[in-house]
């Protein structure tokens, strides 16, 4: 009896103490942890913006933690599930990965954000990619298109006056610029990268998936892969098995003359006299390139959903998007800034922004994205590059993919 009353008294006292502490804590800023994968050439642009947010928002402070992409991919799900993970995170640079997070109940629906910003402001493709069952689960950390980077000095030395306008010209130039030993025409990455091969396939009219069925065995797709993998094997226009980082390194070292890459890379190429040009047009006669948008999710277990979405709203504001564009050459993620002065005045930014109407997202809503990309598509491409059996490899991949999609 005596013990029980003592315990009750103790509990009451603690509760009171905690209450008082909570009141006092109201004055302390809300701390949000943000796991980000932006370790590349655009790193500084993000760091500067986060600092700007922290300086202008004394009540919300972002603890911005950079990690390599594959580390986040492995660690984020369990971190969020355990309740001790970050409040905000970029799960992967591939859009479709958020499907798993939503399916496993790890991502918060961003109703507050939609209320503040309005869905109409974001590009429709982005909204489609980031929504499940009508609810928005991610905000775009950036919106990028891919252009053809070229090394001006290497082109000049080979007597090429202007960057290629068609895929045929690109192939010829690449052959001319390769010496079979340590100089390559193009740095064509095939794994762990913002994908480059789909751009080649799309430009010739082929595709990976159409109407939820595999297009890998389509003659246009096969033709493209055969042509390029043949050049890689016979004329050594690119090393095989490059990751995105390898390809960037190769271009940065001046050992490859071309690379299809996004605006983030410009920061890494300071030592190179480079230019950017629209991706050459292929057999389809239509300009096409890859769009890339990195999702930022809010943890379903965050203690501060309001503040996290407030940060995302700030991120999507006109001022922030304008600064992001100027600093890292991204196109703004808003549809209402096309005529913004800061965008139009910077030629590199304008070049990337001009491609937005022709840019397609890569497998945006596939639930089995990882299986398709890493398990089916990339091995087929690598097999074609290594063994020269594009038609067979793609036929096998086609059957595998149809089986996965439930298509006959």
């Amino acid at each position: 009896m005596h013990l029980r009353t003592s315990l009750i008294a103790l509990a009451a006292a603690s509760g009171l103490a905690l209450g008082v502490a909570a009141q006092a804590a109201g004055a302390d800023p809300v701390k949000l942890t943000y796991w980000s994968g932006f370790t590349g050439g655009d790193k500084q642009a993000y760091l500067d913006l986060i600092k700007k947010f922290n300086d202008t928002h004394p009540d919300i402070q972002i603890d911005y933690q950079l990690q390599p992409w594959d580390s986040i991919a492995q660690k984020l799900p369990t971190a969020i599930a355990s309740g001790a993970g970050p409040d905000l995170a970029t799960p992967d640079y591939n859009v479709a990965t958020i499907q798993q997070y939503v399916a496993n109940g790890l991502a918060l629906p961003l109703d507050d954000l939609v209320g503040q910003v309005g869905k109409g402001v974001l590009p429709q493709a982005v909204v489609d990619a980031f929504s499940v069952n009508g609810k928005l689960y991610a905000a775009p950390a950036n919106f990028a298109t891919l252009l053809l980077y070229y090394n001006k000095d290497l082109l000049q030395a080979a007597g090429i006056a202007a960057p290629p306008k068609t895929m045929q010209e690109l192939q010829d130039d690449a052959v001319k610029l390769s010496n079979g030993q340590d100089k390559y025409g193009i740095a064509l990455a095939d794994n762990a990268t913002i994908q480059m091969w789909p751009v080649l396939i799309w430009s010739d009219g082929g595709d990976l998936i159409t109407n939820n069925c595999s297009d890998l065995a389509d003659p246009k797709t096969v033709g493209t892969v055969e042509k390029w993998s043949g050049l890689i094997r016979d004329k050594k226009i690119s090393p095989v098995g490059l990751t995105g980082q390898d390809a960037d390194n190769l271009f940065a070292a001046g050992k490859a003359a071309f690379e299809i890459n996004g605006p983030w890379a410009a920061g890494e190429y300071k030592a190179i006299n480079f230019g950017v040009a629209p991706v050459p047009v292929g057999a389809s006669d239509k300009p096409v390139t890859l769009a890339s948008t990195v999702p930022t999710i809010v943890s379903a277990k965050t203690g501060h959903p309001k503040e996290a979405q407030e940060f995302l709203a700030w991120w999507l504001s006109k001022d922030t998007q304008a600064q992001l564009s100027t600093a890292a050459a991204y196109a703004p993620s808003r549809t209402d800034m096309a005529n913004d002065a800061s965008i139009a005045s910077n030629p590199t930014v304008a070049a990337f922004a001009a491609q937005v109407p022709y840019a397609r997202l890569y497998l945006p809503t596939e639930k089995d994205f990882a299986k398709i990309d890493t398990g089916i598509f990339i091995p087929a491409i690598q097999s074609a590059e290594q063994a020269g059996n594009a038609a067979d490899a793609l036929k096998a991949a086609n059957d595998q993919l149809n089986k996965l999609l439930g298509c006959s």
């Binding site: 590349g40 001790a84 990751t243």
Partner: protein, 266 residues
């Protein structure tokens, strides 16, 4: 025989070569590496990599985590292992033989079997990404218990018998008599544990998620791909992470060797 010796020396050079190259490359500049990859000797002694490593990566934190993990595990493991070993060697109690065989049996089971369920347990305990999550599952080792038990069994009984007659408790006997006697075995075990945990890759890779908690091997290999494009910085990081064990090896080589050699006497 001369030909054999020449081969042995050549092979020895191959053994040392990666370390030499790692050290020398840490003094080169990125441009130098790109333009002259085949060069061994740096053009000049460029120390900037050793300065940049601390800012490019949270390297101080990685180093600290390695120290805490390897050091903590070693010290606690020595304590728990020796206590258990002494109990199994000297004190009879019901279930002693059974316990000993169980310990022996666990040596047979590869760590891959327990890795995933232990990960689940650590996750359920909310110990993921914490020091206790890293250290506690490793705080005792069947190998250590076995090794020390074999040692204690060989200690003459008169020593502790005399102490008991004098009125000393078991704990006192353990602490003041057994442990000092076991110093060589403990030193060997300590070196073995520290080396193993300092170099361990998979376990910290699985248990830690945020950068602040990573250890040196996991931190370096993860960041080596995307984070650090500066190869000299990466080599500097590798050199620094190797340094503690290399220094210890130079001064106390026999403990390293003994640890490996005694595992042969099973």
């Amino acid at each position: 025989m001369a030909a054999a010796m020449a081969l042995v020396v050549l092979l020895g050079a191959f053994m040392i070569f990666p370390f030499v190259w790692m050290l020398l490359t840490s003094f080169r500049t990125q441009q130098e590496i790109f333009s002259n990859p085949g060069n061994l000797i740096p053009a000049a002694l460029n120390w900037s990599a050793y300065v940049e490593i601390w800012s490019e990566l949270p390297f101080a934190r990685l180093f600290l985590n390695s120290v805490i993990f390897a050091g903590g595990t070693t010290i606690i493991s020595l304590l728990f292992d020796s206590l258990a070993a002494y109990a199994l060697a000297r004190l009879t109690f019901p279930g002693r033989t059974f316990a000993f065989y169980v310990v022996l049996a666990t040596l047979m089971v590869p760590y891959q079997i327990t890795l995933i369920p232990v990960f689940q347990t650590v996750f359920d305990l909310h110990w993921l990404d914490t020091y206790q999550g890293l250290i506690v599952p490793r705080a005792t080792s069947a190998f250590g218990i076995f090794l020390l038990r074999q040692f204690f069994v060989t200690v003459p009984r008169d020593l502790d018998a005399a102490a008991r007659i004098d009125g000393a408790g078991e704990l006192r006997i353990y602490w003041s008599i057994m442990l000092p006697l076991a110093r060589p075995a403990l030193a060997t075990l300590a070196v073995f544990h520290f080396m193993y945990n300092w170099n361990d890759f998979l376990w910290p890779l699985v248990i830690t998620s945020s950068i602040d908690m990573r250890t040196l091997p996991a931190g370096l290999t993860l960041f080596g791909g995307q984070f650090v494009v500066e190869y000299a910085v990466l080599m500097a990081g590798a050199t620094i992470s190797l340094a503690p064990l290399a220094v210890a090896f130079l001064f106390a080589q026999r403990y390293f060797v003994q640890g490996i050699a005694t595992t042969g006497i099973k």
